[in-house]
Symmetry: C2
Subunit: 367 residues, 2 copies
DNA sequence: TCGTCGAACCGTAACGGTTCAGACGGCCCT
DNA sequence: AGGGCCGTCTGAACCGTTACGGTTCGACGA
């Protein structure tokens, strides 16, 4: 082909119409309503388009007129690139993508300037709706999304936003089930390793104040479920140390566990609010030569594939399904005006990382 | 808040201007060029906007006028949802997302209707450019992308598309290095397990005709590198069985290996053109009780984390870097008119799945 | 006193389509 | 012959914004 520079101004619908001596309407119809013009004319239009290198109606102009962008926006609290590293997120993405491609809709990942208050990206996004994945209640990007006059679906958190659909799981109940499993095994000295509870970098003990001020409802609920479960056997929540980590990574889990056990060596079970953190805790135990579950019980939350491979005791949530439902909630909304709230089931997975507390032989000797 | 239905027609820049008795230009400037109007007036504008619920300039209309969409499109050959399952792809995505968020650009995943010839999604996409990830040379979606008057960057394949940037690795050289490693170990009876070579579902032996008609240059090159390496020690490529799999999954690798070894039990090394397939081959060996590398050598290509954990001998390619470069090529293009071609290095990773051929003791006894 | 200048604001013309209410001619039907 | 209908195509309005090239006006220097 000729070496035309890429900067050539492409043909427009109007120029094509002029060339053919027909109205713009007719050219438009050739693309969008083939039944509105005769077959021969349509063929002529399409042929001329090919000849002139007209790529078809401009998507942006079309969007402006039709008020449809053909895409849904996805807002993640973390940096975009992080999303692809967290298996729980990729599972969610997979489900969401599934729903999107079924509806032939694009999926726009909205860039979140790290730690910046710059929400222009949210304003920039040409989308028909937003899916918001697990963000803080007071996240400025989220607030910007709410201002946009498009439907929104929240996954996981925040909870109970007026007029906004939500899909999630019952984190509290899930954790309660896990807590009962642990208390039945006999655990009473429990320590917690949790994810970020609120805005701002914070690593270390999450004291009652911090817990009370948590702006991540999911974390709040998971802690709450554990508290309730422990209360059932008379364990006072005030006696349960909670270590928080800002980063969500295996490495963070590892040194979180280190911090927890250094300060509270009496602990027999480390309850993590995510599998990733739990995998880190397992790593720490391995480093220290602590046998799991012989000397230490470790549990997670999420049920990601890696955790399954590691035999982790955890609470599985249907991440892919969450994504799919989020997409469907957004794309298949009829004219309903009442927001929908979908809660998916969790499942307690008893793996090989939970056992009776060390030094507690009653389950073997008592009978 | 009041229970206003979400369907209310939002205020426009024009209505806001009318309300305030200023021109539209001024309102626009309030958002885009604060220096073009006095601070008090700007405050008045913004205050009125808040009061009237004006969410700021409509992104689509803005895009139309400014000819910028603020997003790059990503075309994947596979179904969108597949992308999140392949670790090589997620690595690439991570890098690409990194580049995008750095430039504050969105990343639009273009839905590819499975197996359909429906390229409307490509036409629909409101983007400033496309990144095309590893598609067939004759992929209709890809051809549709080329017709769009926006810059395009290809990752991996196809090769040598006129006027289009590309980033990739030297697959041929990478595989050549691996081949030499194998021939140095003494392997002469080699079998190959490769990914899809061309359009159409095909599972089973890839005979010379099929190989010659391959429309996936990456697979072509990897096979070519192996052929060259084997030729160096006098092995005729015609004697090397190649099994093709349409699906790219561990399961496919497993039964591909099964097919390969059932038909050619004399083989001492299974060379896979991807780590995923190789992991499947390892699975097959484990099922059969074949020790690796004692009785069978297995190699991969890509260097994904799972492979590393499995100790696979493979060729590592910098997937994250590929994504990053692809993004930069697209976003940081100056006015250059010459297309850029970036080739990143590969690295031979000698793991624990490659050893001397079974029954070949010359390396131990010959000296 | 007058010319000049910069700050502040404005009018108009795109940007590239889609949509809807017709116009027009031919055909069938009565 | 006349009326109605249908298949085709057109004209003009509109989608919501920004680019471009002004205009206005008060301050200021000579």
């Amino acid at each position: 082909m000729s070496g035309l520079p890429n900067v050539r101004r492409p043909a427009t619908l109007a120029s094509l119409a002029a060339e053919l001596g027909v109205s713009r309407t007719t050219v438009s119809n050739a693309y969008n309503r083939p039944d509105q013009l005769s077959a021969p004319l349509r063929a002529r239009v399409l042929e001329a388009a090919r000849r002139l290198g007209y790529p078809g109606p401009d998507p942006v102009a079309r969007s402006l007129r039709t008020r449809k962008a053909g895409a849904v926006g996805l807002l993640l609290t973390e940096a975009l690139s992080y999303a692809f590293r967290d298996p729980a997120v990729t599972g969610f993405l997979e489900g969401l993508a599934l729903a999107c491609e079924q509806a032939n809709q694009g999926l726009l990942l909205v860039p979140v300037s790290p730690e910046a208050v710059d929400v222009t990206a949210v304003h920039q996004a040409g989308v028909d709706g937003f899916v918001v994945y697990s963000v803080r209640e007071d996240d400025p990007h989220f607030l910007a999304v709410l201002e946009r006059p498009v439907p929104t679906v929240v996954c996981d958190q925040p909870h109970n936003v007026e007029g906004v659909d939500r899909v999630g799981v019952d984190d509290r109940a899930g954790m309660l089930g896990l807590a009962r499993h642990l208390t039945e095994l006999g655990h009473r000295r429990v320590g917690v390793l949790c994810m970020r509870l609120a805005a701002g970098r914070h690593d270390g003990p999450a004291l009652p104040d911090r817990q009370a001020g948590a702006t991540y409802p999911v974390q709040r609920d998971r802690l709450g479920g554990l508290r309730d479960g422990l209360a059932e056997v008379g364990v006072d929540w005030a006696d349960v140390p909670v270590i928080e980590r800002f980063e969500h990574s295996v490495a963070a889990g590892r040194d979180g566990a280190q911090e927890l056990l250094a300060a509270h060596p009496e602990i027999t079970a480390v309850v993590c609010t995510s599998d990733i953190l739990a995998l880190g805790a397992l790593g720490f135990a391995a480093d220290k030569g602590l046998s799991v579950p012989g000397e230490l019980t470790v549990t997670g939350f999420d049920g990601v594939p890696e955790a399954e491979r590691a035999g982790l005791t955890t609470v599985r949530q249907p991440v892919l399904e969450k994504g799919r439902v989020a997409g469907e909630l957004l794309l298949q909304r009829g004219d309903r005006n009442r927001p929908r709230r979908v809660t998916l089931p969790t499942e307690l997975i008893i793996g090989e990382t939970s056992g009776i507390p060390r030094g507690d032989e009653r389950f073997f000797s008592g009978w």
